[in-house]
């Protein structure tokens, strides 16, 4: 009787090593939408949106994975925006509770209402090289209008592995400046 060899998948790497996928970063200046494509076999993706500035109209930033515009996203966390009626530059935190598969993007930054506010966001996506749910962690804030911030965890239930990341203006206005860095590890 012959022996049967059962293939054993290679174990995952015990350590992750991130590298910058878009060398030098990619400017978002003059753009309403920036897509970083050609991503392959990256299970852990980290995106830094650095010094994002609006044109005169405030301009919040959305995230999509694999250019998927269907309701496969959700988010739970906190967002606060400057409240003009308070007139004291303080943001009022509020719960952001968007159930899984209820929204078509995840808001990851940008400030509505104000001119030339500088915004920075850190976004981490886990599970990008699998068919499972992708988890999206977001932390962001601005240098003006204190209390304006967003933080929380979202998810994306698309089953394809991640091949592209899209950042876009929620009001389709072009950004004045900002640089996007995308890091990946498998």
């Amino acid at each position: 009787m012959g022996l049967t060899t059962i293939p054993v998948p290679a174990p995952p790497s015990p350590t992750k090593s991130f590298s910058l996928l878009n060398a030098g970063g990619t400017s978002i200046a003059g753009l309403s939408t920036l897509t970083i494509s050609g991503i392959s076999n990256m299970d852990d993706i980290y995106i830094l949106v650095n010094s994002l500035q609006s044109t005169p109209t405030g301009n919040a930033l959305g995230l999509r994975i694999n250019a998927d515009t269907t309701n496969k996203y959700g988010f739970a966390g906190m967002a606060s925006y400057y409240q003009p009626a308070q007139n004291d530059n303080s943001g009022i935190p509020s719960l952001r509770n968007q159930a899984p598969n209820s929204i078509s993007y995840i808001e990851v930054g940008g400030a509505n209402y104000f001119t030339y506010t500088t915004w920075t966001s850190s976004i981490r996506i886990s599970g990008g090289a699998t068919s499972g749910v992708k988890m999206v962690q977001v932390i962001g804030g601005t240098n003006q209008y204190r209390g304006t911030a967003i933080t929380g965890m979202g998810q994306y239930t698309g089953t394809s592995t991640i091949s592209s990341i899209t950042l876009f203006s929620l009001i389709t206005d072009n950004y004045a400046s900002g640089t996007v860095y995308v890091y990946g590890a498998n």
Binding site: T33, G58, S164, I171, D173
Partner: protein, 43 residues
Amino acid sequence: MKITEKEFNIQTGQETITERDATPEEEALFLEAEAARAAAQTE
């Protein structure tokens, strides 16, 4: 209103830039945000 979109492919290094006119819905969103900003700055 013109909207500019860019795709950067990290495998090939190719950049594709597309410029298009905003749809009426997109333009309405922009005008709404602009009005909100103007109102906030006068308070």
